[in-house]
Symmetry: C2
Subunit: 465 residues, 2 copies
């Protein structure tokens, strides 16, 4: 069953059953599965049990499996014999803490549909989007398909973890230990965003990250600038000179070799991006800015997603209290992060940065470095068959061309799937930039939830072709 | 009486009476005249009364006069008719607070002579140097001269204030109000240092100061560098780029017009300074450094005293706690001070700095400025007659060539004497770099006190020639 006529009864069922879908989501949202706080460990277990029981009703062989932390759910429904595609769907049932609680307009674990200021209907609760609402779009799609047809169009393994919000440190070993049991043709992750409330998107690249800290040291103690000023080296002068030289006049990063291996966008993607409405007006004006700050000659969307960047995230040195003090400090430090793209190797970038700093140290100064994190960029194959299928399906559901977009951030599980299971991932999600994930008043558009479920029907049908 | 043979009896008296001189200094040191703390206002008054009564015993017409704060002492002894030089001697009886008290090796107001680690005899107490010990060298010199000869070789007005450590804000109006009563030919200030424990010095220049704070602002809130990195301007990037460009490769400050009006040293002074033992080894090694950081091609002593400088005294922006945060902050700020020399005008330097920053702001960034202080440099006439006389006299007493030195710091009263009374100042003092003024365990070398008193005899004699 794969054409539009065949899936229409399933889509109709989704529309007819939507109030029940919403109530099932609410039941999950009411469970306080905050993974970061040990006081909620029982709630995490309850969320896993609740969700596993629900998925089991669809005919999946479902288990709640222990990890070294909160448990994971593994659910399988294979049928129809050999040759069918096998997809591994990933989501997470854990949520972020809710503090500061006083900024919530209603209790975070009492979900409700309310009206957004601009008239949109929204589901408000902790986890409404991230990731309970998102993962339930897939579960509800499976339910509708199964209930109408008695089967599913592809083989599906669902794996849902409970520690995504605290770094998945026990889930990655779990993947490793269960890799023979999690075999599939590719992975689906529902934890990303749409382009805008009406335009679907597939995330095809995730930037990597190298995060460094550097301490510049000179004299063996703080000095009086009246006595030593002009004679003694000032670490802030050295630090600002080095950091101030990280960019040239065109906004390019000056570290030798930094752009080695970085490729330009394929012409067709660049052409698509050129037509998008991600403009300084739309993207920067809400934050009070108007001038794209990245490399000259690049689209703003390139600057924030397909190009590598550098930001000084923190700097401190000397006297920073009220008033003035004529001090030459003994040291100064900064935190610097690099967003990486495909072709850049974190270790090489880290070394290039450290070499850059060290080469610019004047006499009497030393530099010490600290390493905060390191992750390579992920670039998915734009022409991967399931990605192309999902793209067509999303365009069909939303009536607007699907945007293949890069995300400036990282989703480490994508690299973990590749490394442990050998799987490529298709990243489809229905979040929006204003969903307040990780913040008070998290929400999920009612339309995201409803059309998200319908989108999966079309995507699964397209996979089955 | 002006040649060495004539003053020998006075010098002999000083040596013979030294234990009594020391006891008189101790009596003054025992008074807790901390000007900053209102709880010690009575002690400040007591110090003024005690000192005035002592000076009156030398035959000075002495008054303790009120100010809007702690009182000032004015004492005059004129004699011998017209044509004699008239000097105005300045000192201050107030002292710095003593905290942290636990770091003192003995009670700060119980003076004693102890042994320094290297064998020098030292007077230890709050105010031992700054400025009770220093001003008492002059009082004791007058006492010895008067007691041996019955008169003084020049007309002398002594003015001693009680608020130097808190900015002299009531003393400057006092000078203004009493300017007809404080007429003299030039001023003497005893609040500076020797070149080293065996080499006398006259301070002939004091650097000025312009202290600025600048805030660079961009977005209207802190941003996530994964989402906005590369697109949104980062104020730390802007601030480090601007501050990092303040110096060229030769250590010169790049602000247009910064060096306008700055003169090179007279050749004879440069020749003298070239022969001094202020080397990177002697000056920088104790603080763990070895490479002079100022303008290339300049002596270290020029870099720290006769050349203008710039130091970033503090910088802060973004996340500065433990670990990492991928933030692009909304603002970043720095505190920057300039030490000025003769020929530089504080207002022009301030404006030049602000123009420099403003001209380098990229789109979307604003700069706000705050003004912490402003004082012009003081450069005394190297060939001023009393300065030349004092130089000869000091060389005679110490047996080493007197160094004419620049101080990197400021003594605002020197500019106030010039402005209110029209007087040039000769700055002679016997402090040492290791006297711990303003710190626990303040001390004054016993030799500084003894030979300081003797030095004034030779200086006063030289003035009278």
């Amino acid at each position: 069953m794969s054409n539009a006529a065949q899936i229409q009864p399933v889509l109709d069922r989704i529309d007819a059953d939507f109030d029940n879908s919403l109530e099932r989501l609410f039941a999950l949202l009411r469970i306080k599965s905050i993974s970061a706080d040990p006081a909620f460990a029982g709630d995490c277990r309850a969320a896993a049990d609740h969700l596993a029981a629900d998925i089991a009703t669809l005919g999946f062989a479902t288990e709640v499996r222990p990890t070294a932390g909160h448990p994971a759910i593994v659910a399988k429904l294979n049928g129809g014999g050999a040759g069918r595609p096998h997809v591994l769907f990933y989501g997470h049932y854990d949520v972020q803490p809710v503090d500061p609680l006083n900024l919530w307009h209603r209790p975070p674990f009492e979900p409700a549909v309310t009206d957004h200021a601009d008239g949109r209907k929204i589901i408000v609760a902790r986890g409404a989007e991230d990731d309970k609402g998102q993962l339930m779009t897939f579960v509800e799609a499976c339910r509708a398909w199964k209930s109408v047809t008695g089967s599913l169009p592809v083989d599906i393994t669902i794996v849902i973890e409970g520690e995504e919000e605290i770094g998945s440190k026990n889930f990655v070993p779990f993947l490793e230990a269960n890799k023979n049991d999690l075999k599939a043709d590719f992975a689906l992750v529902c934890d990303t965003s749409m382009w805008d409330p009406n335009t679907p998107a597939i995330t095809t690249s995730l930037r990597g990250l190298v995060y460094e800290e550097v301490w510049i040291k000179a004299a063996n103690r703080d000095l009086h600038s009246g006595i030593f000023g002009g004679g003694a080296q000032n670490p802030i002068r050295v630090l600002t000179r080095i950091l101030g030289g990280l960019f040239d006049d065109d906004g390019r990063i000056t570290i030798p070799g930094f752009y080695d291996g970085v490729k330009d966008l394929p012409p067709d993607v660049l052409a698509q991006w050129s037509k998008l409405d991600l403009t300084p007006e739309s993207f920067l004006k809400p934050i009070g800015l108007s001038v794209p700050a990245g490399e000259k000659g690049r689209l703003l969307i390139e600057q924030i997603s397909s190009r590598p960047t550098c930001d000084v995230n923190g700097i401190i040195g000397g006297y920073t209290g009220e008033g003035s003090k004529t001090v030459i400090p003994a040291h100064a430090s900064a935190k610097i992060s690099f967003r990486l793209v495909e072709g850049q190797q974190p270790d090489k970038i880290r070394k290039a940065f450290r070499d850059y700093v060290t080469a610019r140290l004047p006499g009497d100064c030393t530099a010490e470095f600290g390493d905060h994190s390191s992750a390579p960029a992920i670039a998915l194959d734009w022409n991967m068959k399931p990605l192309a299928a999902a793209r067509r399906a999303l365009t069909e559901e939303w009536g607007k061309e699907t945007v293949l977009m890069g995300s400036g951030a990282s989703i480490p599980i994508v690299a973990d799937f590749k490394r442990t299971l050998g799987l490529d991932t298709v990243l489809v999600g229905f979040g929006l930039d204003d969903d307040n994930i990780h913040s008070p008043n998290e929400k999920y558009d009612l339309k995201s939830f409803h059309k998200g479920i319908r989108s999966w029907i079309r995507i699964l049908a397209a996979f089955a072709v």
